[in-house]
């Protein structure tokens, strides 16, 4: 009994001290690879046109703009979507019960940040566009179940395919 209350006390004290992970602000060995995954080069045009093309892609993908600073080439956008299939939640509720269905992921907020940076190219001004995605996921109880960056290569490939089309359309003023 005494041992139990001592353990409980220790847990309480420890619970009050949360620490930032040591590597949270240190460059990791894979940061160069990630940079390559998240970036593409575009040649020609003006920075504001490239940024406008990025804004177009963001809108194509259903995002709404939260913040922008054209002088630094920054565009921040987000969208809120369902995180689960309504059909599977119904099935789980039937089979296992309401509580299990409620603790499944329900909604997510996906954030996108696009940064355009000038770089010197072989034939004049070029731009490096870097996109980063992250999301927060909640369950039906309103609890945060996930806080994560999105790292799938396909996501970035598809994003940049859309962006290439958007840069073309922007140049044609469509």
């Amino acid at each position: 009994m005494r041992l139990l209350s001592l353990c409980g006390l220790a847990l309480l004290v420890v619970g009050c001290q949360t620490g930032i992970p040591e590597d949270a602000l240190a460059l990791k060995p894979d940061s160069l690879e990630r940079r390559q995954l998240e970036s593409r080069r575009f040649a020609g045009g003006k920075e504001v046109d490239i940024l406008a093309a990025c804004s177009g892609v963001s809108q194509d993908m259903g995002f709404t703009t939260d913040e922008s600073e054209t002088k630094l080439g920054v565009l921040v956008a987000s969208k809120t979507r369902e995180a689960s299939n309504a059909g599977s939640r119904f099935a789980v509720a039937l089979l296992v019960g309401g509580n299990a269905a409620n603790s499944m992921d329900k909604s997510q907020k996906i954030r996108l940040c696009i940064v355009v940076k000038p770089v010197a190219g072989k034939e004049g001004q070029e731009w490096v566009v870097r996109a980063t995605f992250q999301r927060m996921v909640w369950n039906s109880y309103g609890q945060l179940t996930r806080l994560e960056g999105l790292n799938e290569p396909e996501l970035y490939q598809q994003f940049f395919e859309k962006l290439s089309k958007s840069v073309f359309l922007e140049a044609q003023k469509i």
């Binding site: 006390l9 619970g15 009050c16 602000l25 998240e38 913040e67 630094l72 954030r111 806080l147 960056g149």
Partner: protein
């Protein structure tokens, strides 16, 4: 009797961990000068725009998503989500005729980061991207 005692000590321990919640608005107990020293570094450059762009790309290298950016104010805010939420603001402003002062302050989950080690790690990463040494400020 034992149960009451252990409940009482548990309650005391809990209250020992918790201070008056409105104190958080002022960060009572934090030494202002010490905190600024931990959170600031000087760089031998006067190019504010280039420095801000380098801060942005360093933050992206570290896995952050930018929340806000303001060139005139010289301020960038970003969030990193990786099973935890780490939010950081970095400001860049002129220090003297030859230097800029870069200051970062971070919030990890629901607490301010006051340990020097994370800031050293950040400035080390920024230093590499800038190709300049991060100098301590008094």
């Amino acid at each position: 009797m034992i149960l009451r005692l252990s409940l009482l000590t548990a309650a005391l321990a809990l209250s020992g961990c918790v201070h008056n919640s409105t104190d958080s608005a002022l960060e009572v107990g934090a030494n202002q000068v010490q905190i600024r020293q931990i959170q600031s570094r000087a760089f031998d450059t006067t190019d504010k725009t280039k420095t801000l762009r380098t801060v942005i790309s360093t933050l992206q290298d570290l896995g952050f998503v930018i929340d806000k950016a303001d060139l005139e104010l010289g301020s960038i805010t970003a969030t990193k989500l990786d099973g935890y939420a780490l939010r950081m603001s970095v400001t860049v402003r002129p220090r003297n005729a030859k230097q800029l002062l870069v200051r970062a302050n971070a919030q990890f989950q629901e607490a301010a980061v006051t340990d020097p080690a994370p800031y050293q790690a950040f400035f080390s990463s920024l230093s590499k991207s800038m190709f300049l040494t991060a100098q301590n400020v008094d």
